[in-house]
């Protein structure tokens, strides 16, 4: 068949696909953008209206969150602190474990071990958060109570462990990507210079991947901060400012989930509080995510000086 023959037979369908592809993709993009604008709009409008009633200063400085009390208080700090605590706690468990797993998979494991670990990581990523939450409540918490008898039935530590498990695959996958973007020739060079593998990994490969690993940490923390089901099940819903990991607490997400069940009629200040808390949550996750993406964009520069 001649080249011309091929192009003639293929031209018609390809053109049709081309003609459909453009508007189809455009429609999807517009739809996604419109949804985002709508969400941001509702969030913004309701939050501004809420701050017309409750002063932002009090919102961010008071330490009581009692929206349904006779004299309601809207101090978001306990919720914010709880989210920070869960996020940091989850990262505390997931980052070292994930980092070590990723380094092992990239630089030590044989093909088969690597494949098994990748499979397990994928499986873990597929576990629904409700299952993880239930696991925390029925398995982790009794264990913690056996270790430290004072532990409350709802406690932060149990939630931290389960959320850590949830974000572990994120840490592993993004860290592996970061490690893989470091030229393999650097490993060979290090070994050729009479260094052991561990030394090359610690002194060359991991530092060169540092921005990407930082990105992995922040993207994982963004997921942890937005986690709802596990914290509701395992950490409970008590808005209190406590740093004890063995007590219960209430995160931004847990409050949103609870209040969206609809006990505050539209237009009330309690209804507005829901949006203000949502806006704070959005700011937190967006901030973590943006930091992660910023670090990711620095990755290509090949490490630090």
């Amino acid at each position: 068949m001649t080249a011309a023959g091929i192009s003639v037979t293929r031209r018609a369908p390809r053109r049709l696909a081309d003609r459909l592809a453009r508007p189809a993709f455009l429609a999807c993009t517009v739809l996604a953008a419109a949804t985002l604008v709508a969400v941001a709009g509702v969030l913004g409008v309701e939050t501004v209206r809420f701050f017309g009633t409750v002063s932002p200063v009090r919102f961010f400085t008071e330490v009581d969150w009692t929206p349904f009390a006779e004299e309601p208080r809207f101090g978001v700090l306990p919720l914010l602190a709880a989210t920070a605590q869960i996020t940091a706690g989850a990262a505390f468990f997931a980052v070292p474990a994930g980092l070590m797993t990723a380094v092992y998979m990239e630089h030590y494991a044989g093909v088969r071990t690597e494949r098994v670990l990748a499979g397990v990581t994928g499986l873990l990523a597929a576990v629904p958060t409700v299952v993880l939450g239930y696991f925390a409540l029925t398995f982790v918490t009794p264990l913690l109570r056996a270790l430290w008898p004072g532990t409350e039935a709802f406690n932060a530590l149990s939630a931290c462990l389960a959320v850590g498990l949830m974000i572990l695959p994120t840490v592993i996958v993004f860290t592996r990507n970061a490690l893989r973007s470091v030229p393999a020739a650097l490993m060979e060079t290090g070994l050729a210079l009479g260094a052991g593998r561990g030394r090359v990994v610690a002194r060359v490969m991991v530092p060169a991947a540092a921005p990407g690993i930082g990105a992995a940490v922040f993207l994982a923390m963004a997921r942890a901060a937005g986690e709802t089901m596990i914290v509701t099940l395992a950490a409970g819903n008590q808005a209190q400012l406590t740093w004890s990991p063995l007590e219960g607490l209430r995160t931004l997400t847990a409050y949103i989930a609870q209040s969206s069940l609809g006990d505050a009629p539209s237009g009330t200040v309690q209804y507005g509080a829901f949006f203000a808390v949502s806006a704070v949550l959005f700011a937190v996750t967006w901030g973590l995510h943006a930091t992660g993406r910023f670090l990711m964009s620095r990755r290509s520069r090949g490490g630090l000086g």
Binding site: E188, L191, L193, G305
Partner: protein, 257 residues
């Protein structure tokens, strides 16, 4: 054990019936070649001929490639490099290698030079050592101002010289240089060549190169490798003026790329 011989009589490096395969591809086939102490040996031949593979066999780098299979023997000072008691890390310290592409660590000039000595637990003054080695490769006057500059900011020729300095920092006995000038312009090439010339007093050097004239200028002995086979090996002058093998002759006269 064996009959005592004078140290000079034992070749520094020797490949005996060495075959290296990557999967089903044979990169080196039954190569036997020895490198006398204190000499410069050039490996020449077409692309894919096995030059890099032979260099890497000399410091046990091939074994890092998944799916590699090696048969035959490689000896260093008469000792089988693949013997049970031989530590590959130690081998690589004593037989230094500079790769075909300059692969600097994304760190400072100083950190690059200090990497090897630090790895082997060097206890002397690293600053002094760095100065000495950078001077040895003619880089000191160009970088003395700021050793903390990222190494990647250097020119290609400077990077290659830094790579050589970094390998010299191991205080090796043998230097394996894989096409050290292939990415350089004529001026930078000339500098590297005069550097190699000056290093020949202190090191045994094995140099893989595409430059026939470079091999002629720099080496005492030349090996012609093609298709993984050692076609011819002998004193450089003999090989260039009166090659025994027809294939060597075709290569030298430029009929094989």
């Amino acid at each position: 054990m064996s009959v005592p011989t004078t140290r000079a009589a034992v070749p520094v490096l020797a490949a005996e019936d060495l075959t290296v395969r990557f999967g089903r591809r044979t990169a080196l086939a039954n190569v036997t070649l020895s490198v006398p102490r204190g000499r410069v040996v050039s490996l020449i031949g077409p692309s894919g001929g096995g030059k890099t593979t032979l260099l890497r066999a000399f410091n046990r780098m091939n074994e890092l490639v998944p799916g590699v299979a090696t048969t035959g023997t490689v000896r260093f000072d008469g000792v089988d490099l693949h013997g049970d008691e031989v530590d590959p890390v130690e081998v690589r310290r004593r037989i230094g290698m500079v790769f075909q592409q300059a692969t600097l660590f994304p760190r400072s000039i100083f950190e690059n030079v200090a990497f090897g000595p630090r790895a082997s637990g060097y206890t002397g003054d690293l600053q002094e050592l760095a100065e000495e080695l950078l001077a040895a490769v003619g880089l000191w006057s160009e970088v003395a101002e700021d050793l903390d500059r990222p190494a990647m900011q250097l020119s290609a020729g400077q990077q290659q010289r830094l790579c050589i300095a970094r390998t010299l920092a191991l205080r090796p006995e043998v230097l394996l240089l894989d096409e050290p000038t292939s990415a350089l312009d004529p001026a930078a090439t000339a500098r590297i060549e005069s550097l190699i010339h000056s290093l020949r007093q202190d090191y045994t050097i094995v140099l893989a190169t595409h430059g026939r004239r470079q091999a002629a200028r720099l080496s005492d002995l030349t090996a012609y490798l093609a298709g993984g086979e050692l076609i011819e090996y002998g004193p450089t002058e003999t090989l260039f003026t009166t090659p025994r093998d027809r294939r060597t002759e075709s290569y030298l006269t430029g009929r094989i790329a």
